[in-house]
Amino acid sequence: MKLKQLYVLLMRLAERFQMVQLVIIFLALFTGAAKEATVVFSEAAALCIQNQYLHHGLPSPNLHMSSEDYNLVSSRNFGSEDVSPRKLKHTQGNNLRGIPGNHHGAVVLSGAASQPQNGGPSNMSFYNTPSPMASQLSGVAPPPLCRNMQPNGSNLNTVNTDGSPRSIVNSTIQAPRRKFVDEGKLRKISGRLFSDSGPRRSTRLTGDTGANTNANTAAVAGNGTNNSSKYLGSSKLSSVAPRTVTVRKGQSWVNENIEEGIRNEAFDDSCANVASTTSSSFSSDNVRSLDHDGATVLVGGVVVSGAKAVSGASEVLCLLRTLGEGYRLSCLYRCQDALDAYLRLPHRHYNTSWVLSQVGKAHFELVDYLEADLAFSLARQVSPYSLEGMDIYSTVLYHLKEDMKLSYLTQELISTDRLAPQSWCAMGNCYSLQKDHETALKIFHRAVRLNSRFAYAHTLSGHEYVALEDFENGIKSYQNALRIDSRHYNAWYGLGMIFFRQERFEFSEHHFGMALQINPCSSVIMSYLGTTLHALKKSEDAIKIMDRAILADRKNPLPMYQKANILMSLEKFDDALEVLEELKEYAPRESSVYALMGKIYKRRNMHEKAMLHFGIALDLKPSATDVATIKAAIEKLHVPDELEDNLSTE
């Protein structure tokens, strides 16, 4: 009951700060008092609606109502009615435009929470689902969240009543505008749940509300029809829910409710169920707290029919399913499949910043930097202020050596948000590209201080330590990154490289192997694993992996070069020369190719050819060390000739 007191207290505060309502809900969930939570949610939902009406010039004694609501709701606990959704429904109608986003969460949660009290199974599922998500709850939603959600506010609010057909229609009507903001949020939320990037508090909050909604809706779906199947489905769904919720966050809170219910059964025929469920969920409770009593469902003044809602729901569902599929595949690093999944999206959904960032990331994992660059730049055009995934974009530009674009990106990111680790990662990449590793290291440390759970910042500082030849600190940084996210294959790769430099080849093989296990499509990791195997004298395996790498990415010249190296040290000169000839086609201006060929010809005592190739290698302006090596090799070429001359003259 102290929760109730807390709630009442917070409600008082809520008059001034609407976001506090979200805090209430979160607190309720967090304390794990699910039952109380449902009560709280419904009250909160009611209050939100009331407040929103208040703001639009409706008189309403909010606080008084809330306590009444609470009583009513608690009395209703194991009934099959949904107080809040109805309340919400009734409060919809006109003027839902100005409603800030955080209310959506509150409202939805309440709607969801109040529904499942039907029978055992749905209750249990409800209790099961919130707890994992409760841990994701965090503090108060800061104002930007409201702002962001503002355009969607009208949609979501109208939609907030669980399973109301109107809401679905509403959201579809508003769809084009909403997608813009939503995808960015989706990305952030999915990032939060599945990666280590520090989410912004605003996104975290919206993500939490979405997650909660999902959990609740999963339980809610058990309302009325198909309780048992829904129970099973919901428990399975709850694990799926967070991801899908995050993906869909922007779309519609209530839609989620409906969708979750739909997911439980087949994706198609649940619409009817949902519709029936929602209708059954309207009970004759607690409407007094709301100013607008009455069963009319208004959406912008238009009454929407159930059929439209159903088709809208299935449309949204398909969309969400595709997005979720794409995201799942990219988490498994099956990047080509992920890209195919994203391509199945309709055009206007594909061209949103979240999806484009995910596409860019998938290309990045495939070591296809040009495509990644394209996708990320489109994402930036679509949503220039979103930060998620921009650290990957800065790495792409680093690889492509586009220092102009990279510094421009950095400037933009820093001016967008000085306190985001992604902006500082981009700046660090910029300095690292200029070979100023000490400054880059300082900047990556700043990124780490801003968010110590941002694994990529740790990995990047590890890279800088290695560039400064400080291997001890490099190992520590990589291990930090792995502690945060053990699936961060860049850190595994980094550790493998350090051990390779230190000639601890067994360790290096293990780490490259782990990296490859996580991301099996990266040809660079494969080629390094091959080099390590060769150093361990397992040359046949090495050659096999090199061939795999060559097949995986035809544009990558590195595996071929390494293969030639291995063949040369195995003294299979002809094969090596063959590979190098092929490589010459791919990268005609690479001096190391010619230098290596010259070396091979020298070993085979074909001096004229060796001279030719060394000459070409020198023309292509290699680094100073290589110039020295090549010239030394040329000098040595002459000595055997002299010897021959001497012998012939004798």
Partner: protein
């Protein structure tokens, strides 16, 4: 170190100096890994002024000529370039005139590798350590000693404002015989 003493006796005269320090991309400053010491200094103008990246502060010697700056590394390093900032307009009789660079394993076996005469320098002066032989682009050594043998206008003590030592960058990919030059190779050469 393979340079012979006969080569090191060639003298070069350097006039003027650059206002800006411009060094090739494939060189990196090696001074941070070294221990720096000087033969003598005036209080307040010690060896730290040589490494503080501040051209206002300078090292002032306080003993008999030749004045020495010793740079000692923990392991043998390849060095290619030494750059000094000296200014005749500011320092006049304190400006170094004859400079000799020696290298070796320690104080006991330093050998002169370069001698140069400066004529009214005003800025960064580049002293390349490479020999004529292409195989001698670098000096592979434990220790470097920069000796100021005489000053302009026969001054006794000397002012040097900054010294930097450069060597080649190591290959970013270990155990690779040659470094990559073309963009296609470099793009794919690491995972970041």
């Amino acid at each position: 170190m393979a340079t012979e003493s006969s080569e090191s006796e060639e003298e070069g005269k350097i006039t003027g100096g650059n206002q800006h320090l411009i060094v090739e991309d494939d060189l990196r400053e090696m001074g941070k890994k070294a221990a720096w010491s000087v033969s003598s200094c005036k209080t307040g103008n010690g060896v730290s002024s040589l490494r503080d990246d501040n051209l206002e502060t300078y090292w002032q010697s306080d003993g008999a000529q030749p004045h020495l700056v010793n740079i000692q590394f923990q392991k043998k390093v390849k060095l290619q370039l030494v750059v000094l900032y000296v200014d005749f307009k500011l320092d006049e009789s304190y400006t170094p005139s004859k400079i000799s660079i020696r290298a070796g394993d320690g104080f006991h076996n330093l050998k002169e590798i370069k001698t140069v005469e400066l004529v009214k320098p005003t800025g960064w002066v580049y002293l390349s350590l490479s020999g004529n032989d292409p195989r001698e682009t670098f000096v592979n050594t434990f220790m470097l000693q920069i000796a100021v043998l005489s000053n302009h206008l026969n001054g006794r003590d000397t002012h040097v404002r900054q010294i930097k030592v450069y060597g080649p960058r190591p290959n970013p990919i270990p155990h690779q015989p040659f470094q990559f030059t073309s963009r296609e190779f470099i793009t794919y050469s690491t995972v970041r």
